[in-house]
Amino acid sequence: MNNEKRWEDIFEKALEGNKVNEVNSFEEAMRLNSLIEIADQSRTLPHTNFPEQRRLILAASLKQQLQNSVAIQIAKAAPIAPVVAPKIQAKPLQRTLEPRQRMGWQLFLGFQQAFVVVFLFIAVGVVVYAATRPETPMLPTTIPAAATRPSEEATPTPPPVATATLEIATVTTLVIPAPVATPEPTAEPSPTSQPTPSPTTAASTATATKTTAPVVVRTTPKPAPTATKKPEPTSSPTPVRTTEVEATSIPTATATNTVPATPVPPTQPPSSTPTVKPSPSSTPTEDEKEPEPTPGHR
């Protein structure tokens, strides 16, 4: 061991360039020289360089690792750790939306807003149009209809309003002549005498219409066509005529009915004529007022 230790020291001194005097023999000197030669030869071995491209990649990786370690250190030093975590998670989402998806999303929102604006514009336009429209279209539709009425005589449409006025007018006109005709009932023999010239009901109705026709013409100056219609018993004027006939037939038809129904005219005419005649309420006032007084009212 001591010899081994001694040679190690000699060899170390020779490598350092110091002179070695401990060598005792030529054999030891050759042995020492061969060791030094091998050591020197080993120093001539070529150095192997780390590839440049690999070095660049490694540098980038190490810098990234250094930054990550910085982030870790900051996260450790931060008092509230959860605040840092959401920020790190939010970055990838923004990155995913950055390239084309973000642009597409903006386009989608723009189209959506434009569609809403156009829809609102159209809706407002429709409302405004609907508010302004009713006045103008109603006039042209009604005016031509009224204009066509005179030409179209057979149209049943005009009567509804006009007939109502006509009925009232005819009734009033018929009522008026009734009291005028009251003097006739007073002359009772006249109705009895009339049945003879009017043995049929058609003739009586014809006379009734003839009597009413001039009355209608007087009361209704505006509906001129109605006056023309009366001689032609169409659909619409007929209801008017029925009322007229009923009203007029009260005084006249009694006479007609009495004539054909019974061969004994004196029995029915008194029954019918007294009932009709009190309605005028003009002549029999004094006779009826006397029996009315009752002790209850007093």
Binding site: L35, S42, R43, T48, L66, S69, V70
Partner: protein, 189 residues
């Protein structure tokens, strides 16, 4: 910029210090691992892993305890030993497994400093034979031989790198040179 300043910048997370670190230690570590393994690709991988470990552990390094160079080489050496241990190739490196056809780029001879003129040619001629003989050394002697003669580190630096005493490094160095001489003499015969 010395190693202490480099360490300070790295501990302050300065990205520019990484370039300086690679410029200073990439080739040395690659050379050291290459002469250990005889494989350039493995040397590149272990060098990359070594630097990653350096960045990871730089905050735990204390400048007053050991030289930064020794600390870096110790990391590389431990990774190399771990690799051989995991792959069951420890001490199984043979001449046949070494791809000597890969001609690494040679550095100027001035970096080595020990050779002179006429003897250099003969030594370079014997270079391939010497490389093959190095791979046949025991792992501890090979490590000391590479760190001491190829890397040019001093006994103290190697002792710090391998965490051994200077006397043990001196003994390993002497045995490595003696075994190399024996291997070369046997191959010559």
């Amino acid at each position: 910029m010395d190693d202490n300043e480099l360490v300070t910048r790295l501990q302050n997370f300065e990205a520019e210090a990484v370039d300086e670190l690679l410029e200073r230690y990439a080739d040395r570590l690659h050379n050291y691992i290459y002469y250990h393994s005889g494989n350039h690709h493995l040397a590149e991988d272990i060098v990359s892993e070594t630097f990653a470990r350096i960045i990871e552990k730089i905050s735990s390094y204390k400048p007053g305890t050991a030289p930064f160079k020794s600390w870096v080489y110790r990391i590389a050496h431990n990774l190399l030993v771990d690799h051989f241990r995991d792959s069951n190739q420890y001490r199984s490196v043979s001449i046949d497994s070494v791809n000597w056809d890969e001609k690494p780029q040679a550095r100027p001879s001035s970096d080595w400093g020990a050779a002179d003129g006429g003897e250099m040619a003969t030594r370079i001629a014997d270079r391939d034979e010497l490389k093959q003989a190095i791979t046949l050394l025991p792992e501890d002697q090979r490590t000391v031989f590479i760190l001491r003669f190829i890397e040019g580190n001093s006994l103290e630096q190697v002792s710090l790198m391998l965490d051994k005493t200077t006397a043990s490094i001196k003994s390993l160095q002497y045995r490595a040179v003696r075994n190399l001489r024996a291997i070369l003499d046997n191959n010559g015969e």
